[in-house]
C-alpha cells in the first residue's frame, strides 16, 4: 500500500516539473531566438509526463505499445512528408486527433460504475468539446486542402447547421439527466445519441465558415482541444493535463482574438454570420479601366526602382511562387534596390502562413514587416508588388464606410508610387468585395500565374 502511495507522490512531483517545463517552453516558443529550444523543452516535458505515468498502468502494456508506436509512426510520417504549403491542413488534422483522444477518454470514463454528479457533468462537457474539435477539425482539413467544396447556403450545410444548434439543448439534457431523473422524460440510450450528435454538430459548426476565415477557425479549434484536455484533467484529477491544456486553450484564444482583430470583426460575426452581402452597390462607382502590363514592362520599372515592397497573399501559396519571389528579391537587392516584405496577419489560411512560406524559401525574417511598420512610409516605396493578395490591400477598408470590410487594417499599397498586382483574373477575394485598387491611376495589373510572371521577370534580370 505504501509503495503505491510513494509512486503517486513521485508522479505528482514529476507532473509539476513537467508543467513548469511546458510553461517555460511555450514562453520560449514566443521569441525568435529561443523558439527551437522552447519546442524541445516542451517535448521533454511531454516525454517526462508520459514516462512517469507508465509507472502505474492499468491497461495492458501491449495495447499501449501498439498505440504509441503506431500513432508515433503515422504522426512522424505525416510531419516529415508534408509540404510546407499544406501546413494549415496538417495542423488542423493533428488538432482533430487530439480532440478525438479526449473524446474517447471521456467516453471511457462514462463506462466507469461510480461517477459522481460532478464527474458526469465533466464527462459530458469533455465529450462535447472534444467531439466538436475532432469533427470540426476534419471539416477544416477538408476545406483547407480543397477536398471539400460545400459551403454556406447549400442544403446539406443547412442540415448540419441545424444539428449544431440542436446539440446545445442536447448538452443541457445529458448534463442534467442524472440529477433530474424522474423529473424529465427518459430518452433511451441517450448517451449514444449524444456521442453521434456532438460529432455531427462539429461538422455543422465549421462547414458554413468560408476559407478566408480559416485562420480564426483553426486558432479556435486549437484552443478548444486544449480546453478539452484540461477538462479531461479535471475528470482524471491530473494536474499536468490541466496546466498543459489550459495553456493551449489560452494561447489559442489569444491567436483567435488577434486574427479577428486583424479582420476588424468580432469572433461571433466570423463564426455565425460570415461576410454579409450588404452594400453591393456602394463600390461600383470607382470602376474604371484596368491597366494591364507585360512582364517586360514590369522588369523595366523594377530595374529603376530604389525600394520595393512585396505583399504576398494566399495566391502566392496556391501558385507555389515563394521560391521565385525570393529569387526576385535577391536579384533586386543585387541591383541596389531595398526590398521588404509586407505581411498581413490574416494573409493566407492560418496565422502567420506567409511567414512560414517565405521562411521555407529562405527569405531572411528580418525583411518581413507588419502593416504598422510599412504603412507610415508607404509613399516612399517605388513599387509595391501584390502577389495573390486581395482583401488585405483593399483601400475600401480605409476609405469607404459602407464597405463590408471597412475598418479592417490593411497594407496601404495604394499610397505607393506604383503598384503591381499579380492576379490570375479579375475575380474578387474571399470577402466578395470589389477592390478599387485595381482601377487606381498608379496600379498596373500583371495577369497570369504568379510563378510564371515572376519567373519571366527574374529571367530578364539574369539576361
Amino acid at each position: 500500500m505504501e509503495n503505491i502511495a510513494n509512486i503517486q507522490v513521485i508522479q505528482n512531483i514529476v507532473y509539476i516539473i513537467s508543467s513548469v517545463m511546458f510553461i517555460l517552453g511555450i514562453k520560449m516558443l514566443g521569441k525568435e531566438a529561443t523558439a527551437v529550444k522552447g519546442n524541445y523543452l516542451s517535448a521533454l516535458a511531454m516525454f517526462s509526463a508520459v514516462g512517469i505515468t507508465c509507472l502505474s498502468l492499468d491497461i495492458d502494456l501491449k495495447i499501449i505499445l501498439a498505440g504509441v508506436l503506431l500513432g508515433g509512426l503515422i504522426g512522424s510520417l505525416i510531419a516529415i512528408k508534408v509540404k510546407m504549403t499544406a501546413i494549415p491542413e496538417m495542423v488542423a488534422l493533428f488538432n482533430g486527433f487530439g480532440g478525438l483522444a479526449t473524446f474517447l477518454i471521456a467516453w471511457s470514463q462514462f463506462n466507469e460504475p461510480s461517477n459522481s454528479v460532478f464527474q458526469h457533468v465533466l464527462i459530458m462537457l469533455t465529450i462535447y468539446i472534444g467531439g466538436i474539435t475532432f469533427s470540426g477539425s476534419l471539416i477544416a482539413y477538408g476545406k483547407l486542402s480543397e477536398k471539400l467544396k460545400l459551403g454556406k447556403g447549400s442544403m446539406i450545410t443547412n442540415i448540419f447547421i441545424s444539428f449544431f444548434y440542436l446539440s446545445m439543448p442536447a448538452l443541457i439534457y445529458v448534463v442534467a439527466e442524472p440529477s433530474l431523473s424522474g423529473l424529465i422524460p427518459q430518452v433511451p440510450s441517450y448517451f449514444s445519441i449524444f456521442l453521434v450528435l456532438t460529432l455531427v454538430a462539429g461538422i455543422g459548426f465549421v462547414m458554413p465558415i468560408g476559407g478566408g476565415d480559416m485562420p480564426v477557425v483553426i486558432s479556435l479549434l486549437n484552443s478548444l482541444s486544449g480546453i478539452a484536455a484540461a477538462f479531461a484533467g479535471l475528470l482524471l484529477l491530473n494536474n499536468v493535463l490541466i496546466v498543459a491544456g489550459s495553456l493551449v486553450g489560452a494561447s489559442g484564444l489569444i491567436l483567435t482574438i488577434i486574427m479577428a482583430k486583424a479582420m476588424n470583426r468580432t469572433i461571433t460575426n466570423i463564426l455565425f454570420v460570415g461576410y454579409a452581402s450588404v452594400s453591393q452597390a456602394s463600390s461600383s462607382e470607382e470602376q474604371g479601366e484596368v491597366k494591364p502590363i507585360t512582364s517586360d514592362d514590369a522588369y523595366l520599372i523594377l530595374e529603376n526602382a530604389s525600394s520595393v515592397l512585396v505583399v504576398p497573399g494566399y495566391g502566392m501559396a496556391v501558385a507555389q511562387a515563394q521560391h521565385v519571389v525570393r529569387e526576385l528579391g535577391e536579384l533586386l537587392e543585387e541591383n541596389g534596390t531595398e526590398v521588404k516584405y509586407g505581411i498581413h496577419p490574416v494573409a493566407g489560411r492560418m496565422p502567420g502562413h506567409m511567414n512560414v512560406l517565405l521562411a521555407e524559401a529562405n527569405v531572411s525574417y528580418d525583411l518581413l514587416a507588419e502593416p504598422d511598420d510599412v504603412n507610415p512610409s508607404m509613399d516612399t516605396i517605388d513599387v509595391a508588388i501584390v502577389i495573390g493578395a486581395n482583401d488585405v490591400v483593399n483601400p475600401s477598408a480605409t476609405e469607404e464606410e459602407g464597405s463590408p470590410i471597412y475598418g479592417m487594417p490593411i497594407i496601404e499599397v495604394h499610397n505607393a508610387k506604383t503598384v503591381f498586382v499579380l492576379k490570375r483574373s479579375m475575380s474578387s477575394g474571399f470577402a466578395g468585395v470589389q477592390n478599387p485598387l485595381f482601377f487606381r491611376e498608379n496600379t498596373r495589373m500583371l495577369f497570369g500565374d504568379a510563378k510564371e510572371s515572376i519567373g519571366q521577370i527574374v529571367a530578364e534580370f539574369k539576361d
Partner: protein
C-alpha cells in the same frame, strides 16, 4: 469536492498565465506557436494512459485514445521543429 476546487483553481491560474505568456508574440511566430501549442494538447496521451482496463470495450477506447493522442504528439512536435528550423536570419 475539495480536490475539484483546488484543481479548478489551478485551471484558472493556468489560463491567466497562458494569456499573459502569449499576448506579445511577433506575428512571424504565430504558426510555429500554434503548431507547438497543438503538440502540447497531445498531453491527452497522459490521460489516455491513466484509463482503466475493464473489458474489451474499455480496451478499444483506450487504444484509440492512445493512438490518436500519439499522432498528435509526434506529428505536432516534428512539424513545429521542421517549421522553426526554416526561420533564419541571414
Amino acid at each position: 469536492m475539495e480536490m475539484y476546487i483546488l484543481l479548478g483553481f489551478v485551471l484558472l491560474l493556468s489560463i491567466f498565465l497562458g494569456l499573459e505568456l502569449i499576448s506579445k508574440v511577433p506575428s512571424t511566430l504565430h504558426t510555429p506557436l500554434m503548431s507547438g501549442a497543438n503538440a502540447i494538447s497531445g498531453i491527452a496521451l497522459v490521460g489516455a494512459l491513466m484509463l482503466s482496463s475493464a473489458g474489451q470495450m474499455q480496451d478499444i477506447l483506450a487504444f484509440g485514445a492512445i493512438l490518436f493522442a500519439s499522432i498528435n504528439v509526434f506529428g505536432g512536435y516534428l512539424v513545429t521543429n521542421r517549421m522553426l528550423s526554416m526561420f533564419k536570419k541571414k
